[in-house]
């Protein structure tokens, strides 16, 4: 007699809403890759000064209860784990030139959105840009990447984005064109997600409608 082999963790998966939709449409899921996440973890609970020693540094984290899976693919896998070389001191951070976008609906100039990552990352798979409310305007992919340029779903967490009202595009750089026929001043969120690093950045987008004088 021997003890059970506990080197393998066995878990049951559930299909997301998107997975069920694809299964109904295509008859298969075509799963090709995986990612790991730590949505429930609060790393500030790591206690390197725990009086009982190093075995207790992460006692609060290891005992954190874990939620059951939910089928809404926009509400899980929010914070993905990332593979980086040992010795790095920073997680790749996404930057864009704007800290917000605020333009009138009649604006006809070019509003370029060119994400970059520091340290350099997302060079192959690029970025996913999510415009929370597509009524305010349209995102256009200026520079596509080798993977794809349009996604039909929100691939990662983007706050409380309504899937049906959001526009999702994938590429290296983007351009925003405000909706010239917008009826009233509207604000929404533009989220940029690194498709390799998993990091994200959100800025506010406001399209103003000029008031007409009598």
């Amino acid at each position: 007699m021997s003890y059970c082999d506990n080197s393998t963790i066995t878990v049951d998966a559930i299909l997301t809403t998107k997975g069920r939709q694809l299964l109904a449409q295509n008859g298969n899921l075509n799963i090709t890759s995986f990612a790991l996440a730590d949505d429930e973890i609060d790393y500030t609970l790591y206690q390197p000064n725990h009086p009982n020693g190093s075995a207790f540094y992460d006692i609060a984290i290891r005992n954190t209860p874990v939620f059951e899976p939910v089928s809404d693919e926009t509400q899980v896998m929010k914070y993905k784990l990332v593979s980086l070389n040992q010795g790095v001191t920073s997680i790749p951070v996404i930057n864009i030139a704007q800290d917000k976008i605020s333009v009138p609906s009649t604006y006809t100039g070019t509003i370029s959105i060119s994400p970059s990552t520091n340290p350099a990352y997302n060079l192959t798979l690029g970025y996913t840009a999510i415009l929370g409310n597509k009524n305010v305007g349209v995102l256009i992919v200026d520079q596509a990447n080798s993977v794809n340029s349009v996604s039909s779903t929100i691939p990662t967490f983007a706050g409380d984005v309504n899937t049906t009202s959001a526009q999702v595009v994938v590429g290296q750089t983007f351009r925003f064109i405000p909706n010239s026929s917008l009826g009233q001043t509207t604000s929404t969120t533009l989220t940029i997600i690194g498709n390799e690093s998993g990091g994200s950045l959100s800025i506010e987008v406001t399209v103003t409608v000029p008031t007409t004088s009598a």
Binding site: T8, I9, T10, V11, D12, A13, I14, L15, T16, K18, G19, L22, L23, L29, N30, I31, T32, S33, F34, A35, L36, A37, D38, D39, I41, D42, Y43, Y46, P48, D58, I61, R62, T64, P65, V66, F67, P69, V70, E73, V76, M77, Y79, K80, L81, V82, S83, L84, Q86, V88, T89, S90, I91, V93, N148, S151, P155, N195, S197, G199, S200
Partner: protein, 393 residues
């Protein structure tokens, strides 16, 4: 990188099917008190005094209680209209349907309910080479003879509830009438070969005996179809169904009639003599009553066959040791630490993460399945994780 590719040759195992057994009754229980059973016979007929199981507002509004009644394990299930099995009565010879007091059935509707029911189960359960009558083993277990009664009671388990099959060997029911009670089980534990149909014999699944009792031609269990067929005449002989009208079961329900196979004069079917057996449409309600009248538990277990895909998630030592979790890094708001700088010095010297979630993605990076670990799993450059993710369909 946040995505790792799965190797279809080593990481994905397809074609696995797992059998899941559980109790048939609410909350996965194997036992359910028969005296708590409720049927909807009276609920769907006019009253407990003068039920009209055959028709509703007109003779053309034929009710399903003419064919079967649903049985619920308790009042809650009945209130939710969530039946667990149905009870029917079938008659091979019946050429018309209706009770002797409800001659509109025979004069106008001619729905032939017991005949329809018998033919349904005949078509479903009997092979083409068989005689068309259900055959029940009777006599010695070693050398039984086959009897072919012409009327049957049927228990038909809800497909939704029983999933793929009723488990042979874990089936027990008690019937109680005016002459007494019998407890029945299937004979599968005494047989050396699996079959699609088993004979019902007297006894409990808790009996320790290994000797097959003599057959009495009582009934048949079709586990894969979720159907039990009972020999109506033998059940009548053993427990007494002919003098139960007006009797009250422990659950308070009154038996609406006696088991009846009398004839109605005047029905002539071409090629057959008039006066064919015209069983009452209430026979199935009588059988539902004798189930509810038994102060015993009905024991049923079900099985489900679940095809599954297994994905072996291999997080190697160099992978997934950093996190995008906002508590993992500074956000740059303090003006001292730049955004993205790892918050904890220990995580710089010894990068550490705690995995709680596994996401499975398709080739366009769409999240199609998600699995959660029961507790956070440590991941560092010093260890590797092997997580088997099972996806059931």
């Amino acid at each position: 990188m946040i995505f790792n590719q799965l190797n279809p040759n080593t990481d994905i195992v397809a074609g696995r099917t797992n059998r899941i057994d559980s109790g048939f009754w609410p909350n996965g229980e194997t036992f359910s008190s028969q005296s708590a059973f409720v049927d909807n016979f009276y609920a769907l007929t006019q009253s407990s005094v003068t039920p009209s199981p055959s028709y509703g507002s007109s003779i053309y509004d034929i009710r399903r209680t003419m064919y079967y009644v649903d049985v619920f394990p308790d009042a809650t299930s009945a209130a939710n209209n969530d039946p667990y099995f149905s009870v029917s009565y079938g008659n091979y010879d019946c050429e018309a349907s209706g009770s002797g007091t409800f001659n509109l059935d025979t004069a106008s509707i001619l729905a032939f309910a017991p005949k329809s029911v018998y033919t349904q189960y005949q078509n479903l359960l009997l092979g083409e080479g068989q005689s068309g009558l259900f055959q029940f083993a009777s006599g010695s277990a070693l050398n039984p003879t086959m009897i072919t009664p012409r009327d049957i009671f049927v228990i038909n388990f809800s497909s939704y509830k029983m999933k793929d099959k009723i488990d042979e060997g874990v089936f027990e029911i008690t019937l109680s009438g005016s002459l007494g009670s019998i407890t029945l089980r299937d004979d599968s534990p005494f047989l050396s070969q699996a079959s699609s149909v088993y004979n019902l014999v007297q006894g409990s699944i808790n009996d320790a005996t290994t000797t097959l009792p003599a057959y009495q031609g009582i009934g048949l269990l079709y586990p894969d179809d979720g159907v039990a067929i009972f020999n109506a005449n033998v059940v009548n002989q053993l427990i007494g169904l002919s003098s139960v009208s007006g009797s009250t079961a422990p659950n308070g329900f009154v038996c609406p009639a006696n088991y009846y196979t009398g004839s109605i004069v005047g029905i002539a079917i071409p090629g057959q003599a008039s006066g064919s057996l015209i069983p009452t449409t209430w026979n199935h309600a009588v059988f539902a009553w004798v189930i509810e009248n038994a102060e015993a538990t009905m024991k049923v277990r079900k099985s489900e066959y679940v095809p599954s895909l297994n994905y072996f998630i291999r997080a190697m030592n160099r992978d997934f040791n950093y996190s995008n979790n906002p508590t993992y890094v500074y956000n740059g708001s303090d003006g001292v630490h730049p955004a993205g700088l790892i918050y904890n010095q220990d995580f710089i010297s010894n990068p550490t993460t705690y995995v709680t979630t596994v996401g499975l993605y398709n080739d366009t990076n769409e999240l199609v399945a998600v699995a959660k670990l029961s507790r956070p799993a440590l991941k560092t450059f010093d260890n590797e994780l092997l997580i088997k993710v099972r996806l059931d369909f």
